[in-house]
């Protein structure tokens, strides 16, 4: 995946994260790769479920339905990586 495409993927993930924050009335925490999605951003299990569903619409992939374990993803950075890998696979590129 080219840098610009990877960057767009991150932007879209950020956008979805922020929309859920806004929707839930959570305090707007600046997104950093080291932030834990649940502990730092305040996401509950329903928010994570929504995040995955909305990212499927935005990016056209659901890595967790394709076998990735939820346990592998704790931070925003891990989220970027898992989705970039899934987008690469969907596009037929090596991760």
């Amino acid at each position: 995946m080219s840098l610009s495409v990877a960057s767009k993927t991150r932007e879209r993930i950020d956008s979805v994260l922020q929309s859920i924050q806004q929707q839930r009335g959570l305090p707007p925490v600046p997104l950093e790769e080291g932030h834990q999605v649940m502990a730092d951003l305040g996401f509950a299990s329903l928010d994570v479920a929504q995040l995955i569903a909305l990212l499927e619409i935005e990016l056209g992939v659901d890595p967790f339905a394709a076998g990735v374990s939820l346990q592998e993803v704790h931070t925003v950075g891990e989220l970027y990586r898992v989705y970039q890998d899934a987008c690469n696979k969907a596009a037929g590129q090596a991760p």
Partner: protein
């Protein structure tokens, strides 16, 4: 001749059917049915044959249906717009003949098939039968065999014609649903031609291959009413038809009623003749009913309840809120884990292509979730549509009722989407009045639902419908699992 036909042919005043500008009076009915019977005789259709007919909404088709039922045939009404399922239905019904239209040129002899014992047993009695297909939400259609006389006996021996309606408060006795006694239709009533009052006037809104449409037809004829054929199923056209034909009864669905209100078609036409709206097939959201009451203050609303397997039951509205209703007549009911079970002694004889759905004591699980209050019932949704979100049960109907109150949302279909986190999440497809950005809509939905629904019931995923949610049965298409 059965009591139903004796009664029908005793009627001599009023219109029976209206098709475009052509009217068939009750006085002509017997001759029209006789003519169709002569056609069956000419074509050597045996009096116990299984005969399918494509239910175009024409007078001739209905005369053919009546002729088949009077003779003792087993009639198989097929949808006019269902060519793709026709072969399957003909096979499941073991049909001997097919009428694609109601004349000799439209008749086809089909390959003879060995009949299941249910059909053979009915043929031996000489009684007429009806094979009605369930319009199930998935999988193979089920063919339900009914004995015709048992299906129509439930209409009882009330006087011919309807009582004046519209001037009584809700909660009084409903129209056409007097408690049914055990007495058969007596000669006195049949012979008393002066007893005929003007009957209900209603469009053939529900399709005539469906138990609801067939019940409308038979119940209306039994009561000396007028059926208006060729009913276009758009709000504007239906309201125009009500005005033109001075319709008094509109059988419909919650979804279609919603469309009428949204389109404001009711404001473009004189609907003052309308006295009763009988709704069924799907739950009625209380807010929609309230809105309909305000817009149509002189109309009474009645929940109808019917099943392919049991026919249409006798119901009457509750005292103050007609989403509550009472099951009357010969039906026994019980509620098990929130689900309605019913028992009658005049149900279908059985499925031709599926196991017997009745338990050892004759109870039938409707799959409908209901509430009970003071002997009244209210339908809450379907048990097989419940969405399990992290162990919490969500009834889509409850969520749809809230979503429909959101400005710019004209209808909603709630469904479950699989989730790696919570098992399932609630998703919704919304029909909008005006286009809107999906993300902004998602925010609005979340905001609107926040104080009205528990968090696990709030739709986490919103789709915007590209076309209307109403299916060909005039109710919302079933839940979508993705």
């Amino acid at each position: 001749m059965s009591a139903f036909f004796q009664r029908l042919f005793a009627l001599e005043r009023g219109d029976c059917l209206i098709e475009a500008a052509r009217t068939t009076g009750y006085a002509d009915l017997r001759a029209r049915v006789d003519a169709m019977e002569a056609l069956l005789l000419r074509c050597a259709v045996a009096p116990d044959a299984v005969v399918a007919l494509v239910c175009e909404e024409t007078t001739a088709t209905l005369m053919l249906l009546l002729a088949l039922l009077r003779r003792g045939n087993i009639a198989v009404p097929l949808p006019a717009d269902g060519r793709e399922t026709r072969a399957e239905r003909l096979t499941e019904a073991c049909a001997d003949w097919l009428f694609t239209r109601a004349d000799e040129a439209g008749l086809q002899r089909l390959t003879p098939r060995d009949k299941p014992s249910l059909i053979k047993d009915l043929q031996e009695t000489g009684q007429a039968g009806l094979i009605v297909f369930s319009s199930g939400t998935g999988g193979k259609v089920k063919a339900a065999l009914h004995r015709f006389d048992r299906l129509v006996d439930r209409y009882g021996d009330k006087p011919i014609g309807d009582k004046p309606i519209g001037d009584k408060p809700i909660g009084d006795k409903p129209i056409g649903d007097k408690p049914i006694g055990d007495k058969p239709i007596g000669d006195k009533l049949i012979g008393d031609r002066t007893n005929q009052r003007p009957g209900l006037r209603t469009p053939a809104f529900l399709k005539l291959d469906h138990i609801g449409g067939l019940d409308t037809l038979f119940r209306l004829l039994h009561g000396g009413g007028t059926l208006i054929l060729g009913c276009p199923r758009t709000p504007e056209a239906v309201c125009r038809l009500i005005e033109t034909h001075r319709v008094t009864l509109l059988p419909t669905t919650a979804t279609f009623l919603n469309m009428i209100l949204i389109s404001r078609a009711d404001r473009n036409h004189d609907l003052s003749s309308l006295r009763l709206i009988a709704y069924g097939s799907e739950p009625m959201p209380p807010a929609l009913l309230e809105q309909a009451r305000r817009r149509l203050p002189n109309v009474r609303f009645l929940q109808k309840y019917g099943l392919t397997e049991l026919g249409v039951l006798e119901t009457r509205p509750g005292d103050t809120d007609s989403t509550w209703f009472q099951i009357t007549g010969r039906t026994q009911f019980k509620i098990v884990d929130g689900v309605l079970w019913l028992k009658r002694n005049d149900t279908m004889l059985g499925y031709l292509n599926a196991p017997n759905p009745f338990d050892a004591d004759g109870w039938y699980n409707t799959g409908d979730l209901v509430e009970r209050r003071d002997g009244l019932l209210r339908i809450k949704g379907r048990s097989n549509r419940i969405i399990n979100v992290a162990g919490e049960k969500v009834n889509p109907f409850e969520v749809e009722s809230v979503l429909r109150e959101i400005p710019n949302v004209s209808d909603a279909l709630v469904w479950g989407k699989k989730s790696a986190v919570t098992g399932w999440i609630v998703a919704a497809t919304l029909e909008l009045q005006q286009q809107e950005d999906r993300r902004e809509l998602q925010q609005r939905v979340a905001e609107f639902c926040r104080h009205r629904l528990e968090p696990y019931k709030v739709p986490l995923l919103i789709h915007i419908a590209r076309e209307g949610l109403m299916g060909d049965r005039l109710k919302k298409t079933g839940s979508v699992a993705r």
